[in-house]
Symmetry: C2
Subunit: 475 residues, 2 copies
């Protein structure tokens, strides 16, 4: 007997969470999630394990039914063979969703795994709850204080991420968080037994808290429905798709990972072109594209870049990296070059674009140079490369103090405002611990001021080109 289905909205705002199979002695994802939920001050966390009375200082219950309060989200980390009995408990307790870290189902390649999944789905439908996974890391909903990994932001934001991989679902907020990205909801959906990429895509298309949708997909079971969901999503919001399993080895791994019979990347490529979704090739490319879409603000109107260099060799590299990826560095006119020459030392400088000059050593000089460049009509964006040198040598050692970093950021904010063109930062991390703290001080300050910061010139160029192409096709 099927009951009325639970909505995803309900699933994303649980009041009580049970973690089944957690042990105080085992450093695994189950313990990690208890730890991170505690850190996030989630109000009602219920460890479940008949062997223990306490886990990380919280009372531990023998089973889900024995929990005194409301439980609407159950996180499961017990062997696949024991899951059916657990689902009966969940039904009796009236939970809304059950997420399985547990792997060893269909993706293991055994017939028993596939049959077990069918029985689980039947129990969920009868019990009136939804299944997330199995073989996934579940939900990250900062608004609900529902976190599933360390060092991910508690502050919500406008990005939704649909991920067939639990690792990617954890790493995107972790690595992207440091670059300023904030999330509405992140869902790792693993084997997609019940909640799948199509339902999630449809939900986020409508979701008022989501402005940008990113997805990591290994395989799609219903091509026609996915096509329609993608079309509708991309018509309303920017959509980034990372299709995992592009090669034989990748496909094989995807099949072993989530039992996905992955569709060919050519199909995804064609779909993304048709509907103006952005197809990328890695988690890092999702992050960089999100950073461009969110913070290259206002979005550049074309591919014209004014590039401020960081030395001769790095400027050559920068020119090559930008144009290889499809951006263009128009040569500055004689007038612009002469204007720059009046303001900056000629020896050791390159004025043609990239602009490279050894003495952008004061906030005033930086503001003046940026001002000249921002007024060049064929320039759509300004890229400032702090480069390979130790960050502390930027501003000839004045960096880090309020007399340098803050006035530079203020000047950049002003240029961005007055010109209507985005200012974009490329900052390279040091090779070792020396200077790492200063590097993050600098990056964090730019991120906090709302600037897009990239750690690789090539990745910067690729993300910006994709953003411009997306934005042009949209118009």
């Amino acid at each position: 007997m099927e009951q009325k289905s639970v909505t995803l909205d309900e699933i994303f705002s649980p009041r009580g969470v049970a973690i089944v199979g957690v042990s105080p002695l085992k450093l695994d994802f189950a313990q990690l999630i208890v730890y991170t939920l505690k850190e996030a001050q989630f109000p009602a966390i219920y460890p479940v394990n008949p062997k223990y009375d306490e886990v990380l200082g919280l009372p531990c219950y023998p089973n889900v039914r024995a929990i005194p309060g409301t439980v609407d989200y159950v996180i499961v980390s017990i062997p696949a063979g024991s899951t059916l009995a657990l689902l009966d408990d969940c039904a009796a307790k009236g939970v809304k969703s059950v997420q399985f870290f547990t792997a060893g189902f269909r993706e293991s390649g055994y017939q028993e795994g596939a049959e077990l999944e069918k029985a689980m789905l039947k129990k969920a439908k009868e019990g009136g709850f939804r299944i997330i996974g199995p073989n996934c890391t579940g939900l990250y909903v900062p608004k609900s204080r529902l976190v599933n990994y360390f060092n991910i932001p508690l502050e919500p934001g406008p990005i939704a991420f649909i991920s067939q991989s639990g690792g990617h679902a954890n790493n995107l907020p972790r690595y992207g968080g440091c670059r300023g990205l904030r999330f509405s909801k992140v869902v790792s959906y693993g084997n997609a037994l019940d909640v799948d990429e199509i339902e999630l895509m449809e939900y986020f298309t409508q979701d008022g808290e989501t402005e940008i949708i990113a997805a990591y997909i290994e395989g799609v079971r219903d091509g026609a429905r996915f096509r329609k969901a993608l079309e509708e999503a991309a018509a309303r919001k920017p959509v980034i798709i990372y299709k995992g399993g592009r090669t034989d080895a990748g496909l094989r791994a995807a099949h072993g990972h989530t039992a996905s019979m992955t569709s060919s990347v050519a199909v995804f490529d064609a779909l993304c072109r048709q509907y103006n979704a952005i197809l990328v090739e890695s988690v890092d490319e999702i992050i960089d594209t999100l950073v461009a879409l969110r913070f290259a603000s206002p979005l550049p109107k074309g591919t014209g870049v004014a590039f401020i260099g960081a030395g001769g060799g790095p400027s050559v590299l920068a020119g090559d990296e930008m144009e290889k990826e499809g951006l263009s560095l128009p040569r500055f006119s004689e007038e612009t070059q002469n204007e720059l020459k009046k303001l900056l030392p000629v020896a050791g400088s390159i004025f043609t674009n990239p602009l490279d000059t050894p003495n952008l050593a004061t906030p005033e000089a930086i503001a003046t140079a940026l001002g000249v460049l921002s007024r060049v009509p064929e320039i759509d964006m300004i890229i400032y490369h702090i480069g390979f040198h130790p960050i502390t040598s930027w501003g000839m050692g004045r960096f880090g103090s309020d007399v340098f970093l803050k006035p530079v950021i203020d000047a950049m904010l002003e240029i961005r405002k007055s010109s209507g063109k985005p200012v974009i930062l490329a900052i390279r991390p040091p090779a070792d611990l020396v200077g790492m703290e200063e590097f993050f001080t600098c990056q964090d300050a730019f991120v906090a001021a709302g600037f897009p910061v990239f750690n690789s010139l090539g990745m910067l160029a690729r993300a910006l080109f994709r953003t411009v192409r997306w934005s042009r096709a949209r118009r």
Copy 2:
């Protein structure tokens, strides 16, 4: 009247160094070099500036002639206009080479700059010394304690680097040093007024201290001679060429940088194919290729990779990245898969290649898995991906102690020895300061044990593919 030319061997082993134009008040390259030479305990450092008596605690001389001891290497950081008088002093003092940080010559685009260069070259020939640059950062010769940048290794090694960019000449030892690279001689040669890429290539082809030659070149003036030098170098030693200025913007920057009329990249590409030199596209690619050539030891005989993953999604990514760059991940046979299944937990694992299993948590388990993979005949190299997760969670939190990291490294050394196949590490730095120290502890330990360590899967695959292709063509 031309005197007998100084040999490069003499230039690379100076006994006394003068730094002309250094100021105690100005944080510039001149001051940096005094600082770094002092740190390296170079025996005879002579600051020269008529305005000061002391720089960084060393006596400062009014001019080169006034220096009491032997001076064979002069580093110049004074405006272009004052250089001719200085060269007269250098001739009188009997120096062997003069290096100019100073820019503002031919590359500035003014006729005067080109004429000044001619006059300087004439004075050098008459004075019996050589010019390095102008517009460069000069020499780094660890054997001679001659350093020109902070945090670069003092220990010598087998790599020579010829660099038209001073920035790249500093950054390659800095970033490559952390990955285990050590250098015989690094020469930044800037505008190539006298010492140029051809003479350096010829020298390093013969140099007994150099086993591998890397070069960053913006432009070549004598194509026929360069072709011959490259042919001879590549016939004797591995040669890596990074040609800067591959696009319009890159070419323009190169012209502004070192006045190079850069040759087209297609010509370099053809030359490198013909002579089996390795053409790369960035400083990072030089570093990664050097790491592969030096430490993927013994060099892999083919492109077959056994990949040990770090989670499902990352394993899909890894498979894609490896095969995209030309490496292959042969599917493990049923026998190999069954052998692995006997040793490792089945739930949550992928056995087909990549091998991904959640519980490689002990040195014994890692050694056993590596052992099985190293015996697969179609496998030429083993890549171990520590991945996205915090390094401290490797080995389920046991990392960092002698019970984990050291035994793992010992096991890898043993596998490498017994199988004759290289073991290669992919380790991803964390996104922020959290865990950064552990990351470097881990990376440093692998580097110290002589393993090739890469921080990006794509770059790893590209470098290894190039190395295999180079090695095959050589046979």
